[in-house]
């Protein structure tokens, strides 16, 4: 019954847990700040949050602990990831400072502030404490509920209103008003014809049946890859996988075997020539 224990006192177990997870949390926080890629920051933040959730539990805030995991780590952080995806997981933004002296000021403030806070906590003599046990006697959730729906009911209602407003606000912000009618298929095709390029649909990616992944460029008859076949996004991110080389080597290997079987040597260079001419 560790929960009960945790509620009344701090066991060595909790101490151990604190020191281990605390380090993790701090590391997560640091990496949130210093990771180059937003995705990584997000993930490390999520990690920190989970650790915090555990701490909540350890502090006897069972409800919050769960909420922390569900809402924060589950919902909010995922929202972050979505946005990161929307905005595009571009190449990591450089941590090089543009504003003169900003970084040093930031660090100075940060360190100073931290030191001050710690000092403040330190000289606020908080030696003794009474556990949460009393409060949690008949269940943490019930206790919270009792408070929220009596003492803090107005605040609660207002936060409800706030949430709704926020949702609406988000929609309003992200909603884009369409000014002109969307073009129909027909109009689009006619446009393309008039423009006179790529009248047929773009070539599909993938080569034969061996690769049909979207990031593999289709090969021209001579085996060289065609950029057109890969979506622009992948091209921009430089995530196109070039398989032409191995395709050619496969080809060569195939013909090799064919020759061995047919004991043909004098005319072995012919297909190569052809391929070379073709490749010219």
């Amino acid at each position: 019954m560790s929960a009960q224990l945790a509620a009344y006192s701090t066991s060595t177990g909790e101490a151990f847990q604190f020191w281990v997870l605390g380090t993790v949390a701090v590391l997560g926080a640091l990496s949130t700040v210093f990771m180059k890629r937003a995705v990584h920051s997000a993930l490390s933040l999520a990690g920190t949050m989970i650790v915090l959730a555990v701490f909540y539990l350890a502090n006897g805030a069972y409800f919050l602990g769960i909420v922390q995991i569900v809402v924060y780590t589950g919902a909010i952080m995922m929202l972050f990831l979505f946005v990161v995806m929307l905005v595009g997981v571009t190449a990591a933004d450089s941590l090089k400072e543009t504003i003169k002296g900003q970084r040093w000021l930031a660090l100075l403030c940060g360190v100073g502030f931290g030191v001050l806070l710690l000092a403040g906590i330190a000289n606020a003599s908080l030696k003794d404490f009474e556990g949460i046990g009393q409060a949690n006697a008949n269940g943490n959730v019930e206790g919270l509920a009792a408070l929220i729906f009596t003492k803090y009911v107005f605040a609660f209602e207002i936060t409800g209103a706030l949430l709704i407003t926020a949702a609406v606000g988000a929609m309003v912000l992200t909603h884009r008003e369409r000014t002109e009618r969307a073009k129909t298929q027909r109009e689009l095709s006619e446009e393309r014809v008039r423009a006179g390029k790529h009248v047929p649909p773009l070539p599909a990616p993938g080569v034969y049946a061996r690769h049909n992944a979207v990031d593999v460029a289709g090969l021209l008859p001579d085996g060289t890859p065609s950029e057109l076949t890969v979506s622009k996004t992948l091209r921009d991110r430089g995530q196109v996988r070039d398989v032409s080389a191995e395709a050619l080597s496969d080809l060569r290997a195939l013909e090799q075997r064919a020759e061995e079987r047919l004991e043909r040597t004098e005319i072995d260079s012919a297909p190569f020539k052809r391929t070379e001419e073709a490749s010219k």
């Binding site: 403030c109 403040g120 000289n123």
Partner: protein, 647 residues
């Protein structure tokens, strides 16, 4: 009867209001309205005069209290009129001569399209002048004092299209303002000394006040008098004032307004009597001006300016007499009245001459006019005889009295003053004879000058109808000649009338007080000396202008002559010292105001702007740097709280 006093002023004031506000629809009758109201005022004056004569000498003072004007604690100024013998005399002179000159102006201004306005101004002047002499306290007197200044400003500058006229008007007002400053300071001094500035209380308590304050008050009053009566050193405006229409010169700058200074001194006699030093200054000022004006009068070729010089010198006589104290007050006023008659007559004559000569004023372009305008000639001649003090005429009586009183002052002062007055008499005879001869005798220098019709200093009436060809001298219309004749009568008989049983003396004595001075010389000696000197003056003038022809262009003349032509360089002095200096001062001050006073402020503004420009760099728009500052701020707050808890 007291209630009539206000009417004296009300009549012309009403005229002024009606004429000035009335607008063009009154153009046709305006001048008659003005004249009638002036005459009405004169009639009221006569009625009052009769009333006063009916009373015994001591209670001939009427007081009319209209309303309280400015009541502030102890500062109580009332609108109260005081009609006693002194002011009665002035009222009669003002309204009488004023009415005559109104009448004269009807003819003189006939061709001026702004005649209505002219009469409005004349009425305004009458009202102000009457207020001046009727006021019962100095503040009210001050109102009239500046009122006549305004009227003279408007009338001198009546032909505003002439820059010379506008400038002259401005000059007159400014110089007068200097005098007014003296008057206002005098009033303040009275208020601090006596706690009031009403005639009665002030004169009643003169003896209690300290000598120094009284002298100060008296000198300030004298300054005012100098400004108004064109006495040295504030005389410079009078000559230029001749830019105004001639009736104005006659009424304001000969008969009435310029004598206000004398009135002030005589009215304040009580104060002056108590301040002998001030009196001495008064006599000196009078004596200097007497000679100054006379000399200037000798040199001027402009007939009006010559007369203006004579006016100055005659007023010099009056001021001198007034400075003599109780010995002279009566004679100062007497000369004032007679002078009012003959000088007004002379000016009207001059105006009549100009009227007949296309508004020519240069006497060198006159000559032999007696045939062409006989009435003018005779009236002018009588006035001439009066002013040079020809025995039997009014000037003779009044001036001799003054000369006697001057000697009667006693001591060396008496001798000096007497001598000055005697010399003055001779010079007066000289320059008046000169005017007479150059205008009415000699050959007719105005003939055969088809080109020279253009008047010397632009005395061209606005509605210039006369062609600038050879003038055709002609007698002026009745409206102009009648007043001249009346005034001529005045200048002949007034003196005799006044001295007859020394009626004038008895009339004024209750107000001004009088004491017979004992002159070291007998009356006969003085009279004969005066007569001889007068003859010498006349003879000299005759020898110079009567025997040989007068050059049509003024000879260069001696240094003195040239100086005298330029008003003895007074104007040049003013110009160099006051005008130039003032211009430089104001310019430099404007510069200072722009650069220094304003510069300081703008400099501050600029520096603040620069500073903010630098601070602006902090606002680089990067959310993160804002965040840094915010975070740093938070850190500081934490630090602060910790510190607070630590201590």
């Amino acid at each position: 009867m007291e209630n009539l006093i206000a009417l004296l002023i009300a009549a012309p004031l009403l005229g002024a209001a009606v004429l000035l506000v009335g607008g063009r629809r009154l153009d046709a009758v305006g001048h008659w309205i003005g004249t009638l109201l002036a005459a009405a005022s004169f009639v009221i004056a006569v009625v009052l005069f009769a009333g006063l004569l009916g009373r015994s000498g001591d209670d001939r003072t009427l007081i009319q209290h209209l309303f309280t004007w400015v009541p502030v604690e102890s500062f109580q100024a009332d609108v109260t009129f005081r009609l006693d013998q002194l002011s009665m005399t002035f009222v009669l002179l003002i309204t009488g001569v004023g009415s005559l000159i109104h009448l004269y102006s009807v003819g003189y201004m006939e061709h001026d399209e702004r005649r209505r306005r002219f009469f409005g101004y004349l009425n305004l002047f009458l009202a102000a002048m009457l207020l001046l002499v009727l006021a019962d306290n100095y503040l009210l007197l001050y109102v009239g004092w500046e009122g006549v200044g305004l009227a003279s400003y408007l009338l001198i500058g009546f032909w505003q299209h002439k820059p010379s006229a506008a400038t002259a008007a401005k000059k007159a007002f400014l110089v007068n303002r200097v005098g007014d400053m003296g008057l206002s300071i005098a009033i303040m001094l009275m208020f601090t000394t006596f706690g009031t500035f009403a005639f009665g209380p002030v004169f009643g308590h003169v003896t209690d006040a300290s000598q120094g304050k009284l002298t100060a008050i008296a000198l300030m009053l004298l300054l005012a008098a100098c400004g108004k009566s064109a006495q040295v050193p504030l005389q410079s405006w009078l000559g230029d004032a001749m830019e105004g229409p001639t009736p104005v010169s006659a009424l304001i700058h000969a008969a009435t307004m310029v004598t206000a200074g004398v009135y002030l001194v005589v009215r304040s006699g009580a104060i002056f009597n108590a301040a002998p030093d001030a009196q001495l200054v008064v006599t000196v000022v009078g004596a200097v001006t007497l000679l100054f004006g006379a000399i200037v009068g000798c040199a001027k070729d402009d007939i009006k300016k010559a007369l203006a010089g004579s006016t100055m010198s005659q007023i010099g006589y009056m001021v001198l007499a007034a400075g003599l104290g109780p010995i002279g007050y009566v004679y100062a006023i007497m000369h004032l009245v007679t002078h009012g008659f003959f000088k007004a007559g002379l000016f009207l004559g001059a105006g009549s001459v100009m009227h007949g000569m296309n508004d020519e004023v240069d006497m060198r372009k006159f000559g032999g006019l007696r045939k062409y305008m006989p009435i003018t000639y005779w009236t002018f001649g009588l006035g001439y005889l009066a002013i040079i003090g020809f025995p039997g005429l009014s000037g003779f009586f009044s001036k001799d009295k003054i000369i006697e009183s001057a000697f009667a002052k006693g001591g060396t002062e008496g001798w000096i003053l007497g001598a000055v007055t005697l010399i003055g008499a001779a010079v007066t005879a000289y320059y008046m004879t000169r005017v007479m001869l150059m205008t009415f005798f000699g050959e007719e220098r105005w003939k055969h000058r088809a080109t020279a019709g253009e008047s010397v200093d632009g005395h061209a009436a606005p509605a210039e109808h006369a062609a600038h060809a050879e003038p055709h001298p002609h007698e002026s219309p009745k409206t102009m000649t009648i007043p001249m004749i009346v005034l001529a009568f005045g200048s002949v008989f007034a003196g005799a009338l006044f001295t007859w049983g020394s009626s004038f003396l008895h009339w004024l004595e209750p107000v001004t007080g009088h004491q017979e001075g004992d002159s070291p010389l007998s009356t006969w000696t003085i009279t004969s000396a005066t007569f001889v000197l007068m003859l010498i003056g006349v003879g000299a003038a005759y020898a110079q202008y009567g025997r040989r022809p007068v050059p049509a262009v003024a000879p260069r003349g001696s240094l003195v002559t040239r100086a005298a032509r330029r008003d003895l360089l007074q104007d040049d002095f003013n110009h160099v010292v006051l005008v130039r200096g003032g211009e430089h001062l104001t310019r430099s001050l404007v510069y200072v105001d722009h650069t220094l006073v304003d510069g300081v402020v703008n400099g501050t503004a600029a520096s603040v702007g620069g500073l903010s420009g630098r601070l602006r760099r902090l606002q680089n728009g990067y959310a993160r740097s804002y965040a840094v500052s915010m975070f740093g701020g938070a850190a500081l707050l934490v630090a602060a709280t910790l510190l607070m808890r630590a201590v």
